[in-house]
Amino acid sequence: MPEDDEDQSPPSDLRSQPPCSPNKSRNCISSSSSQTFPDHVLENVLENVLQFLDSRCDRNAASLVCKLWWKVEGLTRSEVFIGNCYALSPARLTQRFKRVRSLLLKGKPRFADFNLMPPDWGANFAPWVSTMAKAYPWLEKVDLKRMFVTDDDLALLAESFPGFKELVLVCCEGFGTSGIAVVANKCRKLKVLDLIESEVTDDEVDWVSCFPEDVTCLESLAFDCVEAPINFKALEGLVGRSPSLRKLRLNRFVSLEELRRLLLLGAPQLTSLGTGSFSRGDQSDEQGPPDYAAAFRACKSVVCLSGFRELMPEYLPAILPVCANLTSLNFSYANISPDMFKPIIHSCHKLQIFWALDSICDEGLQAVAATCKELRELRIFPFDPREDSEGPVSELGLQAISEGCRKLESLLYFCQRMTNAALIAMSHNCPELTVFRLCIMGRHRPDHVTGKAMDEGFGAIVKNCKKLTRLAVSGLLTDQAFRYMGEYGKLIRTLSVAFAGDSDMALRHVLEGCPRLQKLEIRDSPFGDVALRSGMHRYYNMRFVWMSACSLSMGCCKDVARAMPNLVVEVIGSDDDDENREFVDTLYMYRSLDGPRKDAPQFVTIL
């Protein structure tokens, strides 16, 4: 399943000048060797060796050895990861790496997903695709997250890269079904077309019919986020002529009956299935209700199941035949009650990834805890995402999960009430936790049993979960919680804070205590200039810092910008009457090798 960027490595060294002095370049083989090999031989040897290096981390390290290694690594890197599209220009990419076949590019910061950033902020794919069109004609794979991609960009992509194989767009926007149609039509070697949680405008184009008419190379097709009807007959034809298709994620415009037909067509090969709406129109059943379970019985290889976008609960038992094989189940778009849920989960012994709405209640979570002993990742989303809604899940569900699912590594949990005790228990029961994101939806809400702040609970998490790399906090939190984070959160790379803390000291604890911190996003917390200044020794080593609705003054932001020339300091969303505002609305700052961007809109001020 999508979502999340657990990139492990420090940034690639993209400086145009290699770091080491020239006289080291010949010492690669042996300093005492009597033979001195000419550079090009050394290069060839190195090339042949370095091409086996896959890991980004290893490659970054290798590139720092000496000038020669830096150069050869640049020639042999075929997969490039860029965590912030504004950290460098496309020209620098193509200068440094000559033979890129795959690009992973990320744009907007995550808080943009929650309307905290105006639209048209940037992160345009256009300059990247046009530069790469000339530099990398052999490009095969593009994976974008939170980028603004237009139909023209997609058309250029489809035209420029004849061997193009994989397009993955996660949380992107700016394009429509017409752009998809061009990709479908022109990329004849396309294996993967995954549109995940992206906003796709309905241009009323029948993109499914645009795939070429012969047998396709398609292995994965995901369009569950596309809010537009599709030509089902064309889809049936497409599935029928795609023998390599393993992953298919349908949108809500595909009914249960249509799903059934598709499954009978191509089910045995499918490993991952997104079921579409999972409901049917008012059709009369001439010979009794159709046997949907039979269609699922045909899905012998399905291990990943999602969809259920408009679930009719009485049909849910149809999936029972596949439950025993499932390693990943996503019910997060389905309002399922505990009674509907329990018989299903009871069979899912192999489940490792489970996403659901809180409609399954604490009772449902207890059922998960009882059955899913292999669970690695759990995400519980709120059915009613408002601060004052009723919360069907609480510390009871979390406690149960911590006791039953000891291998848990990643948690995202929305609730209305929580206790420190449950967090402390989880910190002891689940030592493998690397991602802990708890969202107590009522702001500043304390432990609902003791009335105390949530400091001790989160403190226990950072202290006992020694592998923790990502943390999101919520509820009533004082500076003490942040003291714990600074003291124990030595591996934390991503930290999300909202409505928490009492003073600048809280942020200082984190900036001074968390050496691996890369991504810091803070909103509505009382952190000001003193705190911002205290982190100046860190900002060049971080990917970005986001602070909105805090207590930062424009003066301080300007000071930081002046003191750190390779840091781009953006102030977003100030009104016309600038002078009247005491505090900056939103600060978004990030390191950059190529200075401030030229495409900033009017409401962004780059200091």
């Binding site: 929650f114 639209p119 997060s332 709120p382 500043h444 003073s503 207590s551 969303g573």
Partner: protein, 186 residues
């Protein structure tokens, strides 16, 4: 519109946050202006302080809880369908002349014009003046207007509240001379 003085905002009460029933729309919780001395030992005391400095609870904050709109929208549709009240979740965009971007509010959170206007004043940091049935809004450069289902721009407050909630498509706070053109009872 009936005039009544709303004392609830300045009322000091004991109680945990979330128990206040006044519904109000604010852009940001101004809790960063809190001045707590040392560790908070007495929870009720601190929650009292919060209620002093921060507007009452049950406010719909932008982007909170942090759930992506693709998840919210789908669930909202289901809720509207199953909800017998029908008036829940009436989201309209609000723009103000001169402000860089739009806000979205839920009209069903408010019981009447007074609450709505108060919320808008706080959200956009302006003052709306006083409403007169014949002359419209006086005492301010800003005039709150809305576009109804027929596409006409009307003055907020002219029609009964329930009718307004049903017919309002979006709000716009006009500034200056443009606003003069909108009288009342067109």
């Amino acid at each position: 519109m009936d005039e009544f003085v709303n004392l609830k905002e300045t009322e000091l009460r004991l109680g945990l946050p979330g128990t206040d029933n006044v519904s109000e729309e604010i852009e940001r919780v101004s809790c960063n202006k809190r001045a707590l001395q040392g560790d908070t030992e007495n929870e009720t005391e601190s929650s009292m302080m919060k209620m002093e400095t921060c507007p009452p609870r049950k406010a719909q904050i932008v982007g909170w809880p942090p759930v992506r709109s693709s998840r919210k929208n789908i669930i909202q549709t289901k809720k509207n369908e199953s909800d017998s009240e029908g008036g829940r979740g009436v989201y309209v965009k609000v723009s103000m002349d001169g402000a860089p971007y739009l806000r979205k509010i839920d009209l069903s959170c408010y019981k009447g014009y007074k609450e709505l206007l108060k919320a808008l004043e706080i959200m956009f940091n302006f003052s709306v003046g006083e409403y007169f049935e014949r002359e419209g809004y006086k005492g301010s450069d800003f005039v709150p207007t809305y576009e109804d289902k027929d596409g006409d721009w009307m003055l907020i407050g002219d029609v009964p509240w329930e009718m307004f909630v049903c017919t309002c498509k979006r709000l716009r706070i006009m500034k200056g001379s443009e606003a003069k053109g909108l009288g009342c009872g067109v």
